[in-house]
Symmetry: C2
Subunit: 257 residues, 2 copies
């Protein structure tokens, strides 16, 4: 059984890595739209259009489920993709919410993500339905920090504090990292706020697959496609998934769909 994973860039490789570890036999096809990354600062309309193109591309492989690893795309395009696709489509929002519900004791949950993800209120809506008080904040500097490799030290801590102090003052006991890049800042966040439970999309999604009894099988195929290739993508990829090659595809293969 094959699975497609789609992300705006290569942050979703945190999800790829967890799924590959939990389901070693699964065939995994990943697409990172690195020629148009980031989605988080773009409009709803553009995010939906890019997401449909990417989903259609992955559907060309033998996959039985599609995971939208990008929080921004999950927040805006999930319902439309569920409608359009003939296979199950799973986003990161619902799994993240379920994990947060397990963790929280005081029903106060913080959500951080890109500007677009926070603006969508996707996490907030689901959490509020369960009676949770939600405190949200967009953290637009986190993605560039992570891509710069500044995940610890004085600057990282200062920026993390700038964004998170307010949420922590509200008394949250659980924080959802609503962006696939943010798990790389987890150690710094834990150091500054050791009492807060942290929900990481990549772990949330594997727990969700287990709960739904989706058991990914196959021949252990691992394919990573990207729409643009640079050294920094290569470095970031290596850090997360080692030697699996990045295969570049032309943007026109998406554009023309």
């Amino acid at each position: 059984m094959g699975v497609g994973i789609f992300d705006s860039g290569i942050g979703g490789l945190t999800v790829f890595k967890e799924i590959a570890r939990e389901f070693p036999k699964a065939d995994i096809y990943y697409l990172g739209d690195t020629a148009r990354v980031p989605y988080g600062s773009k409009s709803k309309e553009t995010i939906i259009r890019y997401s449909i193109e990417a989903a259609n591309y992955l559907r060309g492989f033998s996959i039985d489920a599609l995971i939208i690893a990008c929080n921004t795309a999950s927040s805006y395009a999930l319902d439309i993709l569920k409608e359009k696709m003939d296979i199950p489509v799973i986003g990161v929002v619902e799994p993240g919410v379920e994990m947060a519900l397990k963790y929280t004791k005081n029903n106060k949950v913080g959500v951080i993500g890109t500007t677009a993800t926070i603006r969508s209120n996707s996490y907030k809506r689901l959490l509020q339905e369960k009676g949770i008080q939600v405190y949200q904040k967009p953290c637009p500097l986190f993605v560039p920090l992570v891509e710069e490799g500044i995940t610890e030290g004085k600057i990282a801590e200062m920026i993390v504090k700038e964004y998170l102090d307010d949420l922590v003052k509200e008394g949250i006991d659980t924080l959802i990292l609503g962006c696939t890049h943010y798990p790389l800042l987890k150690e710094t966040i834990k150091k500054l706020y050791p009492d807060i439970n942290i929900v990481d999309s990549s772990q949330a999604i594997t727990q969700f697959l287990h709960k739904e009894e989706i058991n990914l099988q196959g021949n252990g195929i691992r394919e990573i496609f990207i729409t643009d290739k640079t050294e920094s993508f290569e470095k970031f990829k290596k850090l997360l998934v080692g030697d699996i090659p990045l295969k570049k595809i032309e943007l026109s293969q998406l554009c023309s769909l």
Copy 2:
């Protein structure tokens, strides 16, 4: 006489603003490729392709010159655009270098820009031909800082120091801001390093137009096109050029060229 200005996003509005002030009668057509911004982290091949598409779009208007306001696009696509276009094409690199040559007394010049601009060595090559010692540094956190509106205060100063202290220690007396976003950090840079001469692309380009005796005339038409529209683009635009509306065009109008 009309002029086209092209940038990967809306940072190039710093150039738009200076040209509009220096040449109030010029017809100015601006295109910001906000659906695919930023270019600075993408590959040479992708940057060239996007730049050709944008130049072709602007050529559809009555323009007699094309300005590549984006440092990244100027660094990679200028020669190709000069070849392909039937009107003069002006980048930001040469004007920036000329202004730096006027300023420097000790022939030690610093250059900062996006990862792609610095990797291209476009400024370095031209400066070295004139016997200048060049110290370069990519500053990938500056664009997100500016777009976040964090242009002064503790965090801005810390990040500016993180990137610039090394260059200043080398003894540079002049610093080229090789990215259209960076002029918005100019006050913070001046505060930290008051003795350094700062070269800002938007001023460099108007000086260059005067020197080349390119006198832009027309009916004062002002058009700003973007490929994606969000609130933050709107805010940033308002800050720079006030009430001129942002007109959204479809990416397919570029893609199909």
